[in-house]
């Protein structure tokens, strides 16, 4: 962590037109799980401006290596080997240091290791599907995995998820808490996906698509995809913590 003083300002208001609506009937499960009343808008209090921050002592040696963290000794997960890397930024463009990222995904055949998963594709005995890491001082992160496969899911009679990796991100305040998904450049399933269509602005969708990053590809080993995630920015507090007249 850096020597910079921790920031304590309120977070910028969330742009709810840019974010998906709660009620999106073409994604059927949202119909009964979407609040119908208006959200109560409120400026941040300490309860949202603060948030849990996790130290590097949380991490195990293989937490950022999904190719090996569930594999038997000497074996590895099956699938195209990739590196996913990028920065966690805030809306001001500042790198978010010390952000905990958790990620999960299907295996190369599109199958999740989960009790409630019924897709016929085979499990990979050497692939668990979860990993995590913490950003460095500049907000940079990277991890190694296999490229997940697309998979069908019960929504319409023939809906398929494009290949994707789920991300959960903790910034510095609980108001920044975010879960999103990363998609892969060029995937023809992206424009067909009901879950992606919960986002109405095409620019917001583009922001979730990771490009192939040849420059960071490791020759004869793993290709690379770059994926930046932006969290809410926060106000400078220079003039905020003094009461008028004090």
């Amino acid at each position: 962590m850096s020597n910079r003083k921790p920031e304590t300002g309120a977070f910028f208001q969330r742009d709810r037109a840019w974010q998906p609506d709660a009620y999106t009937p073409w994604y059927k499960t949202s119909v009964l799980r979407s609040p119908e009343k208006a959200l109560l808008s409120l400026g941040n209090t300490l309860s949202e401006m603060t948030g849990p921050v996790f130290g590097h002592d949380l991490l195990g040696e293989l937490d950022d290596d999904l190719i090996h963290n569930f594999a038997k000794p000497g074996e590895s997960a099956i699938g195209p080997r990739i590196i996913v890397h990028g920065r966690i930024l805030d809306e001001r463009g500042k790198g978010v240091a010390g952000a905990l990222l958790e990620f999960w995904q299907a295996n190369a055949g599109g199958r999740y290791r989960h009790k409630k998963e019924g897709y016929v594709a085979a499990l990979d005995p050497n692939f668990g599907g979860c990993g995590r890491t913490i950003t460095d001082e500049d907000g940079y992160y990277s991890f190694r995995t296999i490229r997940p496969g697309p998979y069908p899911w019960p929504n319409g009679v023939n809906d398929w998820r494009p290949a994707h990796i789920h991300f959960s991100v903790f910034g510095h305040g609980f108001a920044q808490r975010l879960i999103t998904q990363m998609y892969f450049e060029g995937d023809p399933l992206i424009p067909l996906c009901p879950i992606i269509k919960t986002i109405s602005d095409p620019a917001a969708i583009d922001q979730l698509i990771a490009p192939l990053d040849m420059a960071n590809t490791i020759p004869m080993d793993a290709s690379a995809y770059k994926f930046d995630i932006v969290l809410r920015g926060r106000r400078s507090t220079m003039f905020e913590n003094r009461m008028e007249g004090n």
Binding site: P20, E36, L42, G43, K116, G128
Partner: protein
Amino acid sequence: MPQQLIQFKESASQTAGPYVHIGCTPNFAEISGVYEEDLGTRMLIGDAKGERLTIKGRILDGTGTPLKDALVEIWQADSKGLYNSPSEMRGSSDPHFTGFGRCATDMASGEFSFETVKPGRVPFPDGRLMAPHVTFWIVARGINIGLHTRMYFSDEAGANGEDPVLARIEHRHRVDTLIGKREGDVVTFDIHLQGDNETVFFDI
């Protein structure tokens, strides 16, 4: 054209999906051996100060059916009203209390449960004290963007009555949707996603 103010937009949220457990509570999902323990399992580390409580409840959809695939996170102050966070400037919080809890709802009953302490009062930005409360964040399949709400305590009627956040709720009967019902050491807080008793959710 003037200079641009903000060059970056917050990344759009996407649902946590049905397999959120794989990433957030892998041991719960029976993926063992990757992490020693699921994040947020224990809020009390040894001898935490304050009154010990269990907070439990369910998340109910528009038909009243509990969600069996949700993930609930809570964040709260310690017994003195201090947060375990680098941006807490008022003092050091209890080193035996994390303030953060995470729980997958039970796959059969839909219940979540946290072992914690009762939080102290935290000031609102204008200096008035808020009533003791716990911040909730809920994600699940079918929820496109995480839902923020708060739980207050039924045994704090006086403090609740002067809480500046509860005071903002226009339809007064809805205040009750944010009050956890305390009986002994157990506080029950059911969250209704829709309907007459829809919980007040915040854009905060």
